[in-house]
Amino acid sequence: MSNALQRYPNIAALHQALSSRQLSATELAQDCLRKIELHAGLNAFVHIDADLTLAQAREADNLLATGRGSLLTGLPIAHKDVFVTQGWRSTAGSNMLKQYTSPFDATVVHNLRAAGCVTLGKLNCDEFAMGSGNKHSAFGPTHNPWDTSAVPGGSSGASAAAVAAKLVIAATGTDTGGSVRQPAALCGVTGIKPTYGAVSRYGMIAYGSSLDQAGPLASSALDLVDLLDVMSGFDNKDSTSAEHCKGVPNAPGRIRDEFNEADKSFHSNATQPLKGLRIGVPREFFGEGLSSEVAQAIEEALKQFEKLGAKRVDISLPRTALSIPAYYVIAPAEASSNLSRYDGVRYGHRSASYSDLEDMSARSRAEGFGSEVKRRILIGTYVLSHGYYDAYYLQAQRLRRMIVDDFQAALTQHCDVIMGPVTPTVAQPIDHNQNDPTADWLADIYTLGLNLAGLPGMSIPCGFGTGASGKPLPIGLQVIGNYFDEGRLLAVAHQFQQVTDWHQRVAGQA
């Protein structure tokens, strides 16, 4: 029964095997647990509890045996460790929460559980989702399955690595500045960051609340439809949860319906399914810093879309470079505020020695947080402090509006979707930029604008480059849509994946 996920590599095949009882959910969970053990060197999982997993698998088997299973019943998934879970520890990759166990499940966790998914455990990530290489975790770095000397990306690095290594069929991630799309690109998997408000943030350990959105990672756009459809939905427990999306209630079924509708319309033209689709290609995404191999892979992907009938339109997002300073003011400001809750009193690490209440908090925080988190708290505290608030924080928020306006001008006047690279290069070695903590920030240039604007975006595999060690490493194409266009975006990506096989390549077998 080994390598079930290689034999049944997508949700449809796995569901077929499970519902016809060729494979039981328990056997499948055991198979995944073995494979996780075998790939322990990737350091993808931070907490596994086989008893909890197998209990969920037995429940799934009961449902499947009586014909009450749904499409996702019995599917092995895992959660980024910023989603709180009952049973499994919830650490956000931090020593601050090393022992934390949540009294409740995050809404995303609850929704996937209710749909029948079986949780394999919790996935490593950059501490409090701050980082883009999974290097800033209290539990050590996660390795890229394509080349273990390279990063898997971040902050949802282990989510992408676990899917790429076929340890699980899918994983949850969160995206504050690219943290779903960038690791998906660097590990050769498909990931989507939905529109801000589409998925509930309840139970997602907060980083930058006006930017944070949860999204799934899997091996194809088709699988993401099934996952995102049940993950999303209005949630009264999140004050920024969207009640309606383009006039349609934010509820399961919305994304699937939109996907089906778009997919059906594409089918009406057999040879050129994407006829009429205008793809905006922002010239600012192809400037200095973009490696030639990434540029070439993106170019090839765009040609493929043209073959499918789409029309390429040159567009400008003039403030692309300014999204870096805007993001690195707004996100740290929100982080410094969000992370003030870790005071060593109600939960989290408490220092062993202190003189008074304030000293207890200050020492607990200094010991519990890692260096990247402390840097962002400090800069966030500074830009919110008296005398600097206007110059930095409000200025960044004004720029944020201008960035939103740039995207809207493009998406309402010139194109239907925007495409470009996700990252300037393939995955870097784990020790890259070790002495310059902010150098990695600059590589986020293509992903940050989307979070500032709250728009949905995907990464889909579109080729390979060569890593520092000489091994092939995946390249991702970013596909950006207008607000609440998730279903249509996934349908566009699905067209590409029907005529390419980049998403089917398996790490170690490229």
Binding site: Y354, F369, K374, I379, T381, Y392, R398
Partner: protein, 102 residues
């Protein structure tokens, strides 16, 4: 404009992060480097542009919902204990902190 060591110490105090002299020096280097990145904001003419806090607020009418101020969960000692189980110091339903009043 570079941050002085006193300014960095003040920021660390505001952030409730206890940093030793060596860490403060490192933080000063890091923060000044970061300021180098974010300073470019100042070059943008944003006159007349309203700050945007919620990403969808420029394209739709966004309002933050407030819940009714009513009890929504049944309270019990067990529930309270479960919610306090992660506290580093707790006793009889209270969070314990160092003495604040002599």
């Amino acid at each position: 404009m570079a941050l002085t060591d006193q300014e960095v110490a003040r920021i660390a105090r505001l952030a409730r992060l206890h940093l030793n002299p060596e860490q403060l020096t490192q933080a000063q280097t890091d923060l000044n480097k970061i300021l180098g990145i974010i300073e470019t904001l100042q070059s943008v003419d944003t006159q007349g542009v309203e700050p945007l806090a919620h990403p969808l607020a420029s394209v739709s009418d966004v309002h933050l919902r407030l819940r009714d101020d009513v009890v929504t969960e049944i309270s019990s000692t067990e529930r309270r204990d479960a919610l306090m189980a992660n506290a580093p110091g707790a006793s009889k339903g209270l969070f314990l902190v160092p003495k604040v009043l002599e």
